[in-house]
């Protein structure tokens, strides 16, 4: 169950690159390619297991001209979609990774 306190973390079974403003993700078996738009790419970069979804929502809210409630719904939906595809893992609130300086 994904909540605003959950911490999304990028799967280790993918390789990815930020190319201009877009993230391109390739699954380890080489079978799937995913491209994320600008906002999705920022969420992906932030999803390192150290930040909760609500923290990511705040970051999106601060960077883009978007209503906070809309950002909340959009980020939750986006994270859920990527979790469904096993591109993101969802860590419960108590299991977030230590430090925000990276993996």
């Amino acid at each position: 169950m994904i909540s605003l306190d959950s911490c999304p973390r990028r799967s280790e079974d993918v390789v990815w690159r930020m190319i201009d403003d877009e993230v391109v993700i390739l699954t380890a078996d080489g079978r799937e390619i995913h491209t994320l738009n600008k906002v999705g790419s920022i969420i992906w970069e932030l999803a390192d297991g150290t930040r909760s979804i609500i923290e990511i929502v705040r970051s999106i809210y601060e960077r883009f001209d978007v209503d906070f409630e809309v950002a909340k719904v959009d980020v939750l939906e986006f994270v859920a979609q990527l979790a469904d595809k096993n591109l993101l893992h969802i860590l419960p609130a108590g299991e977030r990774k230590g430090g925000k300086d990276g993996d």
Partner: protein, 284 residues
């Protein structure tokens, strides 16, 4: 046996294929004519369960997917034992056994040989030279790559480009050289018969599909890379290697191509008029 070998140039590498079945060997020499080379970097003794010419020409490529592979010392095992063999690069020797089921990845095996020799003998160039599922055409001294999956129209483009030099209608090499990217033909053709070893500076790449009229549109780098990447032959080799590094090499190559070569989406009708649209957009 050496006289009857099929000596084959694939991009920068030269290999010699030796068969016990001389009839099959001469069939391959004819199939790959235009790509003869003199000094092979690797001699491959090919052992194949009885297979007809028709079967040889009929297999499909599953480009991006990686086949099950195990490499231990000098031995390799592909497709869970359907293709097995030994590789000794120091001695420039390889022996391979294809089962009847394994022969369907003959072409992929050749791709693996290409990447193996690039990595071992041409390491500086190997990260900048990839096989791509595409049709290549040279016009007025410049190369154009038409990239797309099966049925997207690569052979149609080749057929409609008879006024120019068709490099290949199935697999080409896109390679970064000092002056920029080039497109190069390979022996791995589709329906196109007049296949010879040639190259041209790469002017533009088109992601193609059939359409009701000719339309060329710009697409984002992400969109281009996600389409282009699907048609790049994964640089899997007969060497033990880090799969992550391999996939990242592919991604980095695609990103570099996107930064340095103009790219478009092309929808076209099956006549030569699409070339006028291309001339307009690339400024010829």
């Amino acid at each position: 046996m050496e006289d009857e070998a099929c000596k084959l140039q694939i991009g920068d590498v030269c290999i010699s294929l030796r068969f016990k079945d001389t009839a099959f060997s001469s069939y391959l020499r004819e199939y790959f004519k235009g790509y003869t080379c003199k000094e092979p970097e690797l001699i491959i003794d090919m052992n194949i369960e009885e297979v007809s010419d028709k079967e040889f020409g009929g297999f499909e490529c599953d480009l991006l997917s990686l086949h099950p592979k195990a490499v231990k010392g000098n031995s390799f095992n592909l497709l869970s034992g359907e293709v097995t063999g030994t590789l000794n690069l120091k001695e420039k020797r390889c022996t391979v056994y294809f089962s009847r089921k394994g022969i369907r990845i003959f072409k992929q095996f050749m791709f693996m040989v290409y990447y193996t020799l690039m990595k071992h003998n041409h390491p500086a160039e190997s990260k900048n030279s990839f096989l791509v599922h595409a049709c290549g055409v040279s016009k007025d001294g410049y190369g154009y790559a038409f990239v797309g999956p099966s049925e997207s129209g690569k052979s149609t483009i080749a057929r409609l480009s008879s006024d120019y030099t068709v490099l290949n209608d199935e697999i080409i090499i896109i390679k970064k050289e000092r002056e920029g990217y080039i497109v190069r033909s390979t022996p791995f053709r589709g329906d196109f018969l007049e296949n010879r070893n040639r190259s041209a500076p790469l002017k533009a790449i088109f992601i193609i599909n059939h359409g009701k009229k000719n339309i060329i549109r710009g697409i984002s780098k992400g969109e281009f890379i996600s389409q282009f990447l699907k048609e790049v032959v994964c640089p899997d080799s007969l060497l033990p290697e880090n799969r992550w590094e391999m996939l990242l090499e592919m991604l980095d190559f695609c990103a570099d191509v996107a930064r340095n070569v103009p790219f478009y989406e092309l929808r076209f009708i099956p006549d030569k008029s699409f070339w006028s649209c291309i001339d307009e957009i690339v400024g010829v």
